[in-house]
Symmetry: C2
Subunit: 399 residues, 2 copies
DNA sequence: CCACTTAGTTTTATCTATTTACTAACTAGG
DNA sequence: CCTAGTTAGTAAATAGATAAAACTAAGTGG
């Protein structure tokens, strides 16, 4: 169930045709309103090739024609846009404290969504519940008339690189779960591509893939919630690496404090012992079944709370700096529920990162760091993005 | 000067032809002795396509025919190998304490090499000296009759991702050097592709690219010398990421000890303050102009030396574990001059990594970690590998 | 010696992108 | 208002690549 589509290493004429169709579709996705002539010059194809490719994409319902562009001395070109009326994708996130579901269009616009709070439960029960909610979402009036391309599921733990297998979800107590199989038995009628991935990687993918206009070369999404994880995406054939065992991006278990506190994983001094929902709960005595944010909001003025949040923020800043010096993405995006802890947590992280990122090069170029205030549906939407990319670049014959 | 060849996003028939030729050549490179029939089945091409592709590669001198294979009930196939007689590549490494030069064949076999000790000097002087040595190497009898494909240069610092620009080389005192331009003025007659990259990335590329048989999905090379750096390579279109500013792999400047010692870069607690040639020199009072290994060899029994090496080794182990939980390569390769410090340094690193790598997943699968005893020419050869890959996959018309 | 199998080549067919020519639609200037 | 010029897009013919089918080559086994 690879989300990183290996570029074929050889191919026939049909492959070439599909490659060019994908390229055209990607260009319009990235730059809505391009004309056929723009595409021809940007993709290094001839007018005729673009013309026939666009024609078939129009007929299949991927593209629609838009307004006439301003003339620049000759015949004006006709703008092309994604057809937002025909295809939709389902995405879901299984979080530690709830399920999030979305249905979105080719451009990532959310047509319908649902957020269901839920305490950790068994994989089977969770799958059955999610399946029911997905069925309900499917029947939502906003989805009437749409053809579904598939379903993507984001999960809170490392996912094996070459199989739809959740290796472990420490904060759910799950291990080696083939979650899609559990889902499928309840949703036999849902056609299309089924994918699953780690939630931070799905989120990274979505933040990268649904962006239009100027797109960064690479992007890391850092998800700070009950645990802390990350996903990196790069390349113009967007490539998302899970690593050999699915451990890529498990930055919560990088060691920041050798000989420090014991982590759930058994090692000492992991980042999660300093910055994570569970370590903050432990430090401040917030029970598992309380909402962390609601529990802390009235206590924000307490000295101990401020200290804990500042320490966690500083650790997050160090993590960000280490990512900068290990993978050096063009853009960092920070999401997850801890973001809502506010300035006492975020300011130390952001200021540490800003102050230290340029020491080595001595430059003044800042890596953009964006904080997502409400990341409720980010991972679910990202999982849908992975499905879309899989359909566009993968072996499917929908294009 | 990208070494990561972006897979074209669209293309014409000529592109398809080149793609298939590259695929054939790559298959034979990876698995010497394949027959045309093997290639056809592995590359998903027809016998006819492979036949004509092989024919042109034979004529151009990339491949040669070998022995007949054992028959399995029918006509035996003819083995194909790289032609090692026609093309050669130059590679060079500018190190802190010397210059290393190699000329190698398509399979990475070294035809000629040279190691010149040298104290840090200006970019201009270094380039002139290197150019002279390259000229001498070119005229070596071992290279007679070979056509040179180009020159790759490995440098001890971050290299910009989209331009042949060395951003900084802290241990040489260089900053923003267009080293290839300096070289070119002394070597106007050297044709072919000219590339430069960070030494750890070149080394990683070479260790990955020249491997035959079972090839890992991804590989990180950790170079432990005066400074400490790394390079990661992955994918079957081998992709090497330099990061936004060339800082990918600068693990020597990840923070392992918040609030620790000041590093050359100005930050505190960087890995290099714990494990690097310069920090070991500083801790044990070895002068810059002495050879670190020779200076320490007679002192290995000293308590202070043992303690320093053990501390450095533990820090290296932590670095390896953090790479494991950040990028999770299929294989780790450890090289650089510090490797020769021996067991007092290596054992703590290797045992820490081995003991802690499986805690999170609870599996028993070990990531292979290979230590290179003599890495003298690894980076130079890797730079040559990058040139070869550039010729095979790049826009060149040699295929 | 013959049936069978597998490797590789040759010939023919098919398919895709390009080339060339053409139509469409607008601007600018007299 | 008309014409020359420019750019967008389409249509028909051409070139070039892979695929398919037929064929030759070279082995095994009974």
């Amino acid at each position: 169930m690879p989300t990183s589509f290996q570029p074929h290493r050889s191919g026939d004429l049909h492959f070439l045709k599909r490659l060019n169709r994908s390229a055209i579709l990607e260009l319009v996705r990235r730059s809505p309103g391009l004309t056929r002539a723009d595409i021809a010059s940007q993709a290094q194809l001839t007018k005729a090739t673009v013309g026939s490719g666009v024609q078939s994409l129009l007929k299949q319902g991927w593209l629609r024609e838009g307004e006439l562009q301003k003339s620049s001395g000759g015949r004006p070109g006709r703008a092309l846009h994604l057809d937002e009326q025909r295809f939709a994708i389902l995405g879901a996130e299984v979080g530690v404290h709830g399920l999030r579901l979305v249905a979105c269009t080719l451009s990532g616009r959310i047509l319908a969504s649902h957020h269901e709070r839920l305490s950790p439960s068994s994989p089977e029960v969770t799958a059955e519940l999610l399946a029911g909610l997905l069925k309900t979402l499917q029947q939502s009036p906003a989805l009437a008339g749409y053809h579904l391309l598939g379903l993507g599921v984001a999960l809170p733990g490392p996912v094996a690189p070459n199989a739809p297998l959740l290796r472990v979800a420490p904060n759910l107590g799950w291990k080696d779960i083939r979650f899609l199989d559990l889902l499928r038995s309840h949703l036999p009628q849902l056609e299309g591509a089924w994918l699953m991935d780690n939630e931070a990687k799905s989120a990274a993918f979505g933040e990268f893939y649904f962006r239009t206009g100027q797109v960064p070369d690479s992007l890391i999404y850092v998800s700070a919630g009950t645990g802390i994880g990350s996903g990196m995406i790069e390349g113009n054939q967007p490539l998302l690496s899970r690593g050999f065992q699915g451990l890529a991006g498990e930055i919560g278990h990088t060691v920041l404090q050798p000989g420090g506190l014991y982590c759930h994983c058994g090692n000492r001094g992991c980042a999660e012992t300093l910055v994570s929902g569970w370590s903050i709960r432990a430090a401040l005595g917030v029970a598992e079944d309380e909402d962390l944010l609601e529990a802390l909001r009235p206590r924000l003025h307490e000295e101990a709370v401020q200290l804990t949040l500042r320490r966690a923020g500083e650790a997050l800043g160090t993590l960000l700096l280490n990512l900068h010096h290990t993978q050096n993405p063009s853009e960092l995006v920070l999401g997850g529920s801890l973001v809502q802890l506010g300035a006492s947590f975020l300011d130390p992280a952001l200021s540490y990162f800003k102050a230290h990122q340029n020491r080595l090069l001595g430059s003044s170029q800042q890596v953009p760091l964006r904080v997502i205030d409400d990341s409720t549906f980010i991972a679910a939407r990202g999982a849908a993005a992975q499905v879309l990319a899989h359909v566009i670049h993968g072996p499917s014959d929908l294009i």
